[in-house]
Amino acid sequence: MIKRQAKVVVVGGGLAGLSAAMKICEAGIRVVLVSHQPVKRSHSVCAQGGINAAIDSKGEGDSPDIHFYDTVKGGDFLAHQPLVNDMCHQAPAIIHLMDRLGVAFNRTAEGHLEFRRFGGTLYSRTAFAGATTGQQLLYALDEQVRRYEHDGLVEKLEWHEYLGVVLDESQVCRGGVFHDLRTGALFTISADAVILATGGPGQLYGKSTGSAVCTGSAAAATYLQGAKYGNGEFIQIHPTAIPGQDKLRLMSESARGEGGRVWVPKDPKDNRNPTEIPESARYYFLEENYPLFGNLVPRDVASREIYEVVYNKGLGVGGEAMVYLDLTHKSPEFLDDRLGGILDIYEKFTGDNPKTTPMKIFPAVHYSMGGLWVDYESDGNGLIDHQSPRNQMTSIPGLYAVGEVDYQYHGANRLGANSLLSCIYSGIMMGPGVANYTKTLDKAPEDIPSSVFDQARIKWESRFKEIKSMNGKENPYSLHQELGETLLANVLIVRENKKLEKTLLKIDEIETRFGDLQCLDTSDWSNPTPSFINQLYNMIHLSRIIAKGALLRDECRGAHYKPEFEIVQPDEFDPHEYIDYLEKKSYEEVREEAFPPGHLEYMKKFEENNNHWLKSSIAVYKSNQPEISYEDVDASQVTPRPRKYN
């Protein structure tokens, strides 16, 4: 018997897609790499500050176990622990691999990798290449995939968009439907497996730190075809971004990792130039409220604090929704070497020099912890069985998801510099399992009846014909802006049920008005309008998952904060008390006096809340609505407990 060569379609050419493609090629499998744009322009280039690995090069006593603990704690214990554990243990090998690929990481005097601090940890764990780490990592992977392209193992289809999956009669993925963004042609590709590495949904909010292609459309389209979507309501708001009409540009957490301090004038009417405001008249609210972690508290905490200072205390700079991020105490040479890229961006887009003037920043939508539900297989020892075809597989057999588009790894809040890690880790980790999956298939793609593919193509041809014939009154781009403004106003840092209910009604209204769209351009050649209208349809459905998930989750967890349901932690509380409490509880009745006043009551409430809500929310598409249910989280290694950063 001649062994046939398997074929896998990878959709998306960011860190996750490229690392998956590289690993799968290494197994001798052909890859068709599909991307909206040349893969070198993928959104991963926007990642700035670095990538985490507990290499402990500074002798601080860091270890993969501590990295694991920090990550699950940062995510408020909502992530499946075997995955996080495996990722953190693989992290050093991943950094060494990227180093071998030629990434221009910053170096120590001895020529080894340099590390810096990031949020949510007390260790220097973040390797970095200036402040363009994402770009540098992406280029290295792009180069390796180009090498395979040169060898004939990779075929790139750039300027193409994924529209949906091709399912056979047993609902197994046999390929995908694609749209040539130049010619407008719609066609199918048959494959042994399809991998979605399509990134996050920042565009749902109109303005975010996301790139133009980050619409979440591919994930939503797949959800509409029956795939489960997990933890949709967990959207990370990055504390530090700079304003813009077209996007909110990220100001990396590394600015704080390298010593940047966040403050506002104590007197909101203090209109002096910030450099003239003396220390005594400045309110360093993160340092004062969180003496241990200071400016490097996790992002959910920092964003809420900024929100509190600006909106509830009215202390925003100049009365606006802004706070200072100050690096002026650092030398220009140090800043150039470690943060050059982002400081240039700031100066280019605002006209102010951040080396001499504190930056004005505000939180912005940044990352989706949620995404397509994917599976994994534990090795029974708290790590992952890397050979399992189940790893990263969505609820549709043969369809995989990886990178920001999946819902794993970060729980309810992602720690800085863990996204580059999770993208590369999961892309590489899934490789052997995908290769094994292709071997288990009873049929080659060529053996699937052509009618399966014809039907999928015909469905999309009629859909696009329908879109092009839309001749109503609504402008698709304006309707998108309205959707974004609705989510920004109601599904952001602080969430209220009344507002969320209204948001769902507003989404319904937007969906109705979608029917009255005008397709502004009906030409065939390189016409982005019909494609955008289709994306908008998907965005409407995805925003419903997020808003409904947020409405139903009556608790505070990570980035999901609902003051109505907040369980206030006593000031002097120590999270270890909770571990004591659980232990005591297992063999005797716990008495009030065993803990400081009020602590037992708090812990009981916390426990009760966790029993109810420490679960992934899973959305399934049913009769035009997301139906949401809850799944248990594997928290078998580190006992979930209250978070504390002061």
């Binding site: 040349p38 926007c46 080894h112 996007k247 502004l520 390189s526």
Partner: protein, 248 residues
């Protein structure tokens, strides 16, 4: 609406269609850039004559000058549209597609040749495999600093647009590729396959075709020392040639 901005755009419906200029009048907004103006046109695609037209088509992605996608010619200068703030630009603003790459539509061009040329120049590190074989080679800070300057190339095409030697129909590789070859040759592992990168640069379209106009370094948005790279590759190819003469 107090202030407005006039934007004149060189449009083209498809690669074979005749180009034409179309002007739009847009409201002036704080922090506006060329991209946000093009987005405003999408929301109200009406030209200055009051005629409803097809929205302008352009490429963009990251919107913070790290992906290279939205490169175009703005007021006669090639640069990224996202980093072109409206306020300091001379008005009316003119937008044109780059001229050294095949036209696609309006401000879109096809830069596929740049990526193909990277393949020609063996622009990658040859590794044994992705499995864990430990640390990479130690690299001194100075070399790393130099490498980082070069590694920020976004393949945006600014250098080629400004280069008199690079044309639509020749095979000149151009400064971006030379600089990438230098970058990989600088890496301890990359240097082991130096010759594979130098050989293609010594053929027709290679380093000898550089006319030394030095426009490239002046327009590079990442301030990559491209002329320095050209000189260095010139040196490396010369040595390679001499070495070959001796060996043969």
């Amino acid at each position: 609406m107090s202030q407005t901005v006039l934007i004149k755009i060189r449009r083209k419906d498809n690669p074979n269609a005749a180009p034409y200029w179309e002007t739009f009048e847009l409201p002036e907004k704080p922090f506006a850039n060329v991209i946000s103006c093009l987005q405003d046109i999408q929301k109200n695609p009406v030209n200055i004559g009051g005629v409803r037209v097809k929205p302008v088509v352009w490429d963009c992605n990251c919107l913070e000058e790290v992906c290279g996608s939205c490169t175009m010619v703005i007021n006669g200068k090639v640069r990224q549209a996202c980093a072109a703030l409206i306020d300091p630009l001379e008005k009316p603003i003119t937008l044109e597609p780059m001229s050294k790459f095949p036209a696609v539509r309006d401000l879109q061009v096809d830069r596929a040749r740049m990526f193909k040329d990277l393949e020609q120049a063996h622009a990658w590190i040859d590794i044994d495999g992705t499995h864990d074989i430990g640390e990479g080679p130690a690299i001194d800070q100075e070399t790393r600093h130099k490498a980082y300057e070069l590694s920020q190339c976004m393949t945006c095409g600014c250098c080629l647009e400004s280069c008199p030697q690079y044309t639509l129909d020749n095979n000149f590789l151009g400064p971006a590729v030379f600089s990438q070859a230098r970058y990989f040759n600088m890496h301890p592992t990359g240097a082991m396959h130096k010759d594979k990168r130098l050989e293609p640069l010594m053929k027709e379209g290679g380093i000898a075709n550089c006319g030394n106009a030095q426009n490239c370094a002046a327009v590079c948005p990442k301030h990559i020392p491209l002329t320095e790279s050209i000189a260095e590759i010139g040196r490396q190819t010369t040595f390679h040639l001499i070495k070959k003469l001796f060996v043969e």
